[in-house]
Symmetry: C2
Subunit: 275 residues, 2 copies
């Protein structure tokens, strides 16, 4: 690369996808392979990090069990400092940098300081979990849309979500960062009218060798996750589409009509009619 | 490949992403490169289709302007027939096969007939449009979640969406297949309480050389799209995050506070404070 170009650093916010290295985009791989520095979440796997050249500076930031995470303000500064050194910087984040994960705050910080930044999208954990389990995020007659929310609570503040809007039975609900509060979230959803028999799937480590899943219903998931929690981070998919999950080997889960309620069972039967 | 394996066909439902061939996943490329047959939407670009081997049968189905689309039932049958011939079949769909696009119906049809099927996720048009325009789908203080809906009407039926739930100002709304009905959709959203000054971005051909975008507000987008429509398909992103859009060359769009309303402007200012 020409020296003039090298003197002009740049930050690429890159989605590392849900876990499986094969779910990186071609663009993400190209950017990684020519990176001078990689600032990465601790959840990004060694296999993905190994795609960066040996000369690249590797800087772990972000959350993982047992580590203090680097404050967001400091991450912003690190990115700016590296770019000012004239480096090609890859900021590697799990999933997609523009869906949760504060990528847009990093982009705004850098742009405000005149530093070039661009975005490379990534497969979300929700998409990875859906593909791996056979649970579609939309399906005619079962879910006409999908909604991603975060179940993370800021400090001791109450969970302030749009519960009434979230109760729409025709929308698949994907809950990120909800493991700690899933009992409370389920309670609010039921109070807003979502039936207790609504199917719920919890997925941990989607698309990796460590993937674990648990299929339940809204009125039981809170207790079950307390009794036998899955390794963090856990993603929850809520809605009738969960009924279409593979049972590992390609068989459908046999959630009975009694378990999921007659109303849901009828809607599912109608949606599957003729297939 | 061993003959015994070759005799056992398989269907891979593969996301082709939003348009840019570099936004395919490594897995999608691997599956394409070893495909015996590719059954593809007409919107998938020639550059992506060229990744399949020369020997592969290429079968266009699905919608494009000026073509009659192959009925879904016939697509299902084609996939089953090819798999029964013992072929590795790639069903290539724009975006992600499990978000709209009826991938889960194809999967259910094939599984019910004992045909092996697996899913390879893809970057959605929404993610592509977000990354390309600098508009995040979530952003602290502006959007705590994101919701994908379809604005497509079945026949002459009224648009039956969860308007009250869709009016939540803290959720970014992504509308697929909404170009025909955007005026009606905007009307319903405003009637349900979403302010007329809510920013809206229409994106056509996201992540391709033909990308076009138009930034407006909820109370104007219907008329403007009628007066100067964008080439189909058009994606709409609705919410305060649109304020963060790049103006092409990396500059922010200067939507004035007057244009977007003081309430939205204040929320945006608060969210950007300290960045």
């Amino acid at each position: 690369m020409a020296e003039r170009e090298a003197a002009k650093g740049r930050v690429h916010l890159v989605g590392a996808g849900p876990g499986d290295p094969e779910l990186l985009t071609l663009k993400a791989v190209r950017l990684l392979e020519r990176a001078d520095a990689v600032v990465h979440d601790r959840l990004v796997s060694a296999e993905i990090l190994a795609m960066a050249p040996a000369r690249a500076r590797m800087i772990p930031v972000g959350k993982a069990a047992g580590f203090h995470s680097v404050p967001q303000e400091r991450i912003n500064e690190i990115l700016a400092e590296l770019a000012r050194e004239g480096l090609e910087v890859v900021r590697l984040k799990g999933g997609d940098p523009f869906i949760f994960g504060r990528g847009s705050e990093e982009a705004a910080y850098l742009r405000a300081r005149g530093i070039a930044v661009d975005i490379c999208p990534g497969i979300t954990s929700a998409q990875g979990a859906a593909a791996g389990t056979g649970v579609p995020l939309t399906h005619r007659g079962l879910a006409s849309g999908v909604r991603y929310v975060t179940g993370h609570r800021q400090g001791s503040a109450p969970l302030d979500l749009d519960w009434q809007g979230l109760s729409d039975p025709a929308t698949t609900l994907v809950i990120y960062m909800g493991a700690t509060n899933i009992a409370e979230i389920a309670f609010h959803l039921m109070a807003a009218g979502r039936p207790g028999a609504t199917p719920v799937m919890a997925v941990s480590g989607a698309t990796t060798a460590a993937e674990q899943r648990h299929v339940s219903r809204l009125d039981r998931i809170g207790l079950e996750m307390r009794l036998s929690p899955l390794p963090s981070p856990v993603l929850f998919i809520v809605g009738d589409v969960v009924r279409l999950a593979d049972a590992g080997g390609g068989e459908r889960l046999t959630l009975s009509a009694a378990a999921i309620g007659a109303g849901a069972a009828n809607r599912i039967a109608a949606a599957l009619k003729g297939i």
